[in-house]
C-alpha cells in the first residue's frame, strides 16, 4: 500500500517540521526567553533574537525544506503529478 506509507511519511515529516516551528517561536522566543537572554551573541540577546529575527528565518527555511522533502517523497511513492494514477 504505497499511498498509505506515503501519507504516514508525510505525517511524520509534518510533525517534525511543526516541532521545530514551535520550538523556535514559542519555545525560544516566548517560554524560554529569559533563560536564552542570558546568552549574548553579536549584540543580540538570544531569546530576543529568536522573537524578532531568528524564528522568521527558520520559518522560511522550514517551508522550503518541507517542499523539497515532499517532492522527493512524491517521486519515491509514485504519486508525483507527472506520474500516471495507479
Amino acid at each position: 500500500m504505497s499511498k498509505r506509507t506515503y501519507w504516514q511519511d508525510n505525517l511524520r515529516l509534518v510533525a517534525f517540521c511543526l516541532a521545530i516551528w514551535f520550538l523556535v517561536s514559542f519555545g525560544f522566543g516566548i517560554i524560554g526567553l529569559d533563560w536564552l537572554n542570558q546568552i549574548q551573541i553579536g549584540g543580540f540577546q538570544l531569546g530576543f533574537f529568536f522573537a524578532q529575527q531568528g524564528s522568521i528565518y527558520v520559518f522560511v527555511a522550514l517551508i522550503f525544506f518541507y517542499a523539497r522533502r515532499m517532492a522527493a517523497l512524491d517521486r519515491k511513492h509514485g504519486v508525483n503529478e507527472e506520474q500516471a494514477r495507479e
Binding site: K3, W21, G42, Q52, Q53, F64, A67, Q83
Partner: protein, 581 residues
Amino acid sequence: MELQTLTYIVVGASFALYIGIAVATRASSTGEFYVAGGGVHPIANGLATAADWMSAASFISMAGLIAFLGYDGSVYLMGWTGGYVLLALLLAPYLRKFGKFTVPEFIGDRYESQAARIVAVVCLILISFTYVAGQMRGVGIVFSRFLNVDITTGLVIGMAIVFVYAVLGGMKGITYTQVAQYCVLIFAYTVPAVFISLQVTGVPIPQLAMASTVEGTDGIPLLMRLDQVVTALGFSPYTAGTKSRIDIFFITMALMIGTAGLPHVIVRFFTVPKVRDARMSAGWALLFIALLYTTAPAVGALARLNLTNTIQPGPVGSAEGNLAYGERPDWFRTWEDTGLLQFEDKNGDGRIQYYNDANSAFTKTADEYGWAGNELSVDRDIIVLANPEIAGLPNWVIALVAAGGIAAALSTAAGLLLVISAAVSHDLLKGIFAREISEKNELMAGRMSAAFAILCAGYLGYNPPGFVAEVVALAFGLAAASLFPVTLLGIFSLRVNKYGAIAGMLTGLLFTLGYIVWFKGIFFESMAANVADNWLFGISPEGIGTVGAGLNFVVALGVSALTPPPSQEVRNLVERIRVPN
C-alpha cells in the same frame, strides 16, 4: 522639484502601471476571475501573496508599533509569519489538489452539506469585511497624508482604482498587479531603512545594524544601549516588554492560526498549476514577506533610539539635557503640522521632556528633575513616515514611500474584495441559489458583487466600526476560531462529519466574537473593563482566537464521534486530495 509635485508624479505613474497591467491581464472566464486560471508561476504567486498579505498597517504602522512596544511587538513578527508554515504544511497543497475555487466550496463538498457551506460563507464575509474596513480606512489615511486630500476624498480615489482592476481583472488582474505592487512597496520600505541604518550604525543592512553598535560610541550593543536610554526615562526595557508571557503566547498563536485561516490568503494558493507549486509558493511568499518583517524590527529599534536621542541629547535630569523647542529639526516641524507630533510645554522651560509619566515609580525622579509630565505625544506611524526626512534622503524617496504605502493598502483591499465577491457569486449564487446560472452570467455576477463589495467596504471605511486596530484583531480571531480548524480537520480526519463541522464553526465563531465584543464593545457598550484582571486566564481579546480554535476542534471531534461517519464518497474525496496525482 517640489515634493508635492514629485509625489503626484510617482504615485500617478504607479497607478498607470497597475491599471495597465489589469487591462492587459483581464479575466475572461470564471476560472480566470476566481483563481487566475490556475496558471500563475509559484514565484509570481509568492510575490502576489506577499503584497496581498502586507497591508497599510504592515507598511506604515508595524515598525512604529514595535518601536514603542519593544519585545511585546514580537507577537506581530512571529504571528504574521509563522502562519505561513501552517499554511504550507497543513492546508495549501491539499486545497490546491481539491482544485476548485473557494474555501466554503471545499467545506461544502467535504462535509456534504449546503448548511456547512453557508456557515463558512458567513464566517468568510464577517472576517473579510472586518479586515477590509480597516484597509479602506488605511487607504483613505494614506491618500490624505501623502496627497494632501481629506480622508473621504482619499477613500473615493482608492475605491475607484480598486474598482477598475478588481472588477475588470478579477484574480488574474490583481495577481499581476500585486506583483508590481510588491516591488514598489519593498523598494520603498528598504531604501530608507538602509540609509537610517547607515546613519546610526554605519552598517548598511538593517537586520545586522540592529545588532551592532552606535557609530562613534564605545562598544555597547545598540539594543543594550536602547534598554539603558529608555529605562532612564521611566519606560520598560526595550528587550523585555510589559505583557504577560501567557498573553504573548496566546496572541502569537491566534495570529498564526488566523493567518492560515484567512480566506484571501488561502485562495492565493489555488492559482498555481500544481500541488508541488503550492508548497514552494508558500516558501517564496514567506521569503518575500520576511524581507519586510525582518527589516521592520530593525527600523523600530533604530528609530526609537534616534528619536529618544534627538529629544534627550544630554544627560537625563540635567537642565540642558533636553532639546530646546526652538532648536527642533526640520522634520519635527513638518510632522508637527500634521498633528502626528504634538508638544505641550507643561513645565514652561522651553525644552521638550519625553518620558513615561504613567510609571508611578518614576514620578518622584521626574519631580526632582523639575518635569511636570510628558510633553511630547508621538503617533507611532511617524517611525516609517518620517524616516526618509530624518535620514535626510532626497524628495524622490519620500514620494516613493507614499507610492509604497498606497500599494500596500490597495493590494490587500483588492485581494479581500475578490474573495468576498467569489463567496457571493460562486458559493451563494452558483452553489446554492441559482445552480443553473451560465458561466457568462456567473462572471457578470462576480463582477457585480465585487463592485457592490467595494461600495460596502467604502462605507465601512468611512464609518469604521470601532478603532481600526481592534477591527483587525477581530478578523484574525474569527479566522482562527472558525475556518482554520474545520478546514484542517476536513483534510486530516476521515471521521469528522457535517454535524461536527457546523457545531465547531459556530462554537468558535460565537465564543470569539462574544469575548471580543464583551471587552471591546464593538457596536455595543463593552460589558467589562478590558483589563487583565477580568480576562479569562489572563488572555486578552487579541489572543482569544486561540481558545476559540481549541473549542472548535474539541466540539467538532466530539460531535462527530457521537454522530454517523461521513459517506464513502467523502472518504474517497479525502483520499484523493491527500496525494498529488
